[in-house]
């Protein structure tokens, strides 16, 4: 009964809870107009079987199905040519990435596109890569029409020209690996068969036949070596760079086995170990394939690009509006506020502005750009509000790549933590030393056992746990974090979170919700005129700071201010018709010059119990905006829990001490600091680090960029705004802050999983090695055991991470 009520109250299309006045159709309830629109469309085309393969198959993407984005640019011939993978006079073929597809119903519907529009000749889905390949008749359907159709059925595609996709084609890489596995498997099957007589009894077949068997095995081993060529290539490259890599001990093992076998066959002293060699390479490749498959899945899940809240403000004839970054096209006029990043290569339309390119170039001095200059994507506007003319198509992935790019030298491109790389080096050296010692011990006594022992040792020593544990355990967590609104630059950030001892918070925009903030003007000398109020709001609108936004309100103002300046942590200033407007801290704006104790001054004398932004116009103090902050729901409970979990909590706020009383129960007195300028915050973090604390900083990155970078783990808090904070190692949706405790516990569990996996593999290696050095371990058994530990450590690391996730469920953000 209760379940029936629940299903009735859920959206028939996407399964979200429905509001009381939910739109309805045919007795079904919908959460929004978008879902209803999709339903109506499918209903009218007789495609309701969509709802019978899976219940509520729709995605949240359907919510905007009734509001089509601006897609006129798809009519552009050059752009559409880039997107199409084939075109003739009549037919075009396009392959679109549709992140929303996830189930049988999606597959079915997307392959029925022809029934929705006669122009679609054929559509074929690849569920694994979430792409759909569509052949359509140009005369009947344009590319724009096709994309709009997909939007209308709730499957908006991600439009990215084929050339902008990064890295080598994953399909080619996978085909290559599958081909290698096939070759190695072929060689393995045949060599095992040929080796059988030798295992049964020496001389079971005549000497001539044995020689023929050996020769065929030898020829087959050529295939095996060919199949393992990637290991040789990689270890050669890393060796030339003077580094150690996990491939090197493997290659040593392969060469040892092959050389030994060829020697035996050539001297006719035995049949060699061609079968173990083929087995070794085959299982290695299978392990690599498994690893790649799992990685691809993780990669897809943590591909935040598909749901990353990245938008830009564009200037359209209808006024300013926020649009998704991906749909920005050349010729668009964009608006940038202080603190925001240049989203794509563009020309500056405003007279001049200062940009910080330190993140791209490492050059700390901001650069001045004047009208008409070309700005490269990634620069951060220091202050003011400027207009840009987009020169290139914006690509979310390009900005995201900037963010993912390591900025610190210790973050190497290999993807392994420095600890793992160091361990790998010790491991390789240790194995080589042990092998040399084994060989030296056995050679004078029993050369045959010596070779057996050495090759066995080289093979049994498996560094795979080192290679697999961290990427799999932490990668699993990273994927789950990303799906719940906590985006990490790399899985290594999980390690940083796990080690955190001190949590430092910013207040405004981090613990408080800027959307809920309201501003009220308290005049000191008479109210503002309409123009003055409008100008002040326009000035505030040039800044991205939450307090400024509260002052700016929602008015779409188009006043021109000149000589804009923003001093982070202090305030902003600008000129309108020659009159200077200053907005900000008390000591930043012009002091009150009136001789009497005016209202503003008296109010200042008392400790202000509220957050204020002061205003002066033309050098005269005019009063202040009183801001009422609204704390995030549940944030105080979260802070209490974090304190109980043993974290030292700190709060550094740039505002006045208005909320000291409210916050005092959660922060120790000396850790609760107000009126902190950016450099104060930085100094505070540095001081903590000097005490040996492991600091995680959580802030909105607006006036605390330096602190974010300085902290061991800097997490930028963001709403659904266009703010992009490249200095951070993680980006957390504001609503998820209350679950920080869970994220931290999970991170610790992840690091624990890595340690356990290392431990298990160390025990395995020691046991294996103790057999091998005695010559008791035949290479055949070793070649079976080794892949077992590779797959075992992969499974152990992933399993432990999933176990932790099961214990600590994270609620995904509510859209």
């Amino acid at each position: 009964m209760s379940t029936a009520t629940q299903t009735e109250l859920r959206c028939y299309h996407c399964g979200q809870p429905t509001p009381a006045n939910a739109p309805q159709a045919d007795g079904h309830r919908f959460c929004c107009e978008g879902c209803q629109t999709v339903y109506r469309l499918l209903q009218s085309s007789g495609l309701c079987a969509y709802y019978s393969y899976e219940t509520t198959p729709g995605t949240a993407d359907a919510r905007t199905a009734d509001r089509l984005p601006e897609l006129a640019y798809l009519d552009d011939e050059t752009l559409s040519r880039q997107l199409l993978s084939y075109r003739s006079a009549e037919v075009s073929v396009v392959e679109l990435k549709v992140p929303g597809m996830h189930c049988l119903s999606c597959l079915w519907l997307l392959e029925q596109l022809g029934r929705l529009h006669p122009g679609v000749r054929q559509s074929e889905v690849n569920l694994g890569q979430r792409t759909v390949r569509i052949r359509f008749t140009k005369a009947q359907l344009s590319l724009r029409g096709l994309v709009e159709l997909l939007h209308r059925i709730g499957y908006p595609p991600v439009l990215e020209a084929p050339g902008t996709a990064q890295g080598p084609n994953p399909t080619t890489a996978q085909r290559r690996l599958v081909g290698q596995i096939g070759l190695a498997g072929f060689a393995l099957g045949n060599t095992m068969l040929l080796a059988l007589p030798d295992y049964l009894e020496v001389g079971a077949v005549g000497p001539s036949l044995q020689l023929a068997f050996n020769l065929v095995s030898f020829l087959l081993s050529g295939l095996v070596l060919y199949a393992s060529r990637d290991y040789f290539r990689q270890s050669y490259y890393t060796l030339r760079l003077g580094r150690f890599a996990i491939e090197q001990p493997l290659v040593v093992g392969i060469v040892a086995l092959w050389g030994r076998s060829v020697y035996e066959v050539a001297t006719q002293t035995g049949a060699g170990y061609f079968d173990s060699l083929a087995g070794l390479v085959f299982f290695l490749l299978v392990g690599k394939w498994l690893q790649q498959r799992t990685f691809d899945r993780l990669q897809f899940e943590r591909d935040f690009r598909s749901y990353f809240p990245l938008g830009v403000t564009a200037l359209t004839p209808a006024g300013e509006r926020t649009m998704a970054l991906g749909v920005v096209k050349p010729g668009d006029r964009l608006v940038l506020r202080g603190g925001e990043l240049v989203p794509t290569d563009s020309f500056l339309l405003s007279p001049e502005a200062t940009f910080d390119y330190s993140f791209l170039t490492g050059e700390a001095t901001p650069v001045l750009r004047t009208q008409g200059d070309l700005l490269y994507a990634g620069g951060r506007l220091l202050a003011g509000r400027v207009e840009l003319l987009a020169e290139a198509q914006a690509s979310t992935s390009r900005l995201a790549r900037l963010w993912e790019r390591p900025t610190t030298p210790e973050a190497t491109e290999s993807g392994y933590t420095p600890t793992v790389n160091r361990l790998a080096r010790y491991f390789t050296l240790g194995v080589l030393a042990a092998s040399a010692a084994t060989l030296a011990y056995w050679l004078p006594r029993d050369p045959s056992t010596g070779w057996l022992a050495t090759t066995g040792l080289l093979i049994i020593a498996c560094p795979c746990a080192l290679a697999f544990a961290a990427p799999f355990a932490l990668g699993t967590l990273q994927a789950r974090f990303g799906a719940t609104g906590f985006f990490l630059r790399s899985s290594r950030v999980v390690e940083g979170l796990a080690h955190a001892t001190d949590l430092v918070f910013d207040k405004t925009g981090t613990l408080t919700d800027p959307e809920g903030a309201s501003a009220e003007f308290v005049p000191a000398h008479g109210p503002l005129t309409e123009t003055e109020a409008a100008t002040t709001q326009a000035l505030a609108a040039t800044s991205a700071h939450p307090l400024s936004r509260a002052v700016a309100g929602t008015h779409p103002l188009r006043l021109t201010l000149t000589d804009l300046e923003e001093l982070p942590g202090s305030g902003l200033s600008g000129y309108h018709l020659g009159v200077e407007y200053r907005l900000g801290q008390r000591d930043y704006v012009a002091p009150c010059t009136c001789q009497q104790k005016c209202k503003a001054v008296t109010a200042l004398a008392d400790a202000p119990a509220e957050t204020r932004i002061h205003l002066s116009i033309g050098g005269k103090y005019r009063g202040y905006y009183r801001l009422t902050a609204q704390y995030l729901p549940g944030v105080f409970e979260a802070l209490t829990q974090l304190a109980q979990a043993g974290y030292a909590l700190h709060l550094l706020s740039g505002d006045g001490p208005a909320d000291r009383a409210k916050l005092a129960p959660y922060f120790a007195a000396d850790r609760l600091r107000f009126e902190q300028r950016p450099e104060d915050k930085l100094a505070y973090i540095e001081a903590l680090k000097a005490q040996g604390k492991h600091v995680a900083y959580l802030g909105d990155g607006l006036n605390d960029g330096a602190a974010l970078t300085a902290a061991h783990t800097g997490v930028a808090i963001t709403g659904d705004t266009a703010l992009f904070t490249p200095a951070s190692k993680g980006i957390l949706l504001r609503g998820q802050l209350t679950q920080l405790g869970r994220y931290l516990r999970l991170s610790r569990a992840g690091v624990q999983a890595v340690r356990i996996t290392f431990g298990v593999s160390l025990v395995y290696n020691l046991i294996g090695a103790s057999f091998a050095v005695q010559g008791l371990l035949s290479p055949v058994i070793a070649a079976v055991l080794m892949p077992a530990i590779s797959i075992g450590s992969m499974a152990l690391a992933t399993g432990l991470a999933h176990l932790a996730l099961g214990r600590e469920p994270i609620t995904p953000p509510t859209p």
Binding site: A4, G27, G46, L47, C48, A49, Y51, S52, Y53, L104, L107, W108, E111, Q112, V125, N126, L127, G128, Q129, T171, Q174, R175, V178, G179, G182, L183, F186, G189, N190, L193, L194, V205, G206, L209, A212, F213, V216
Partner: protein, 60 residues
Amino acid sequence: MNILILLLGTSVVVALVFLGAFLWANRTGQFDDTLTPAHRILLDTDPTLQPDSNQAQPEH
């Protein structure tokens, strides 16, 4: 015993044919998507002929 040499040659040749077939299939992309066909087989050939199970449910 000499028949074994003939068998050996034959088996390797046959196996090589299969290897060639496998490599061809791999190169032409037949292993690229192993997921979708497995799902597609669950779908009805022509859904218009199937009663819409949602419509068939009795109304409350």
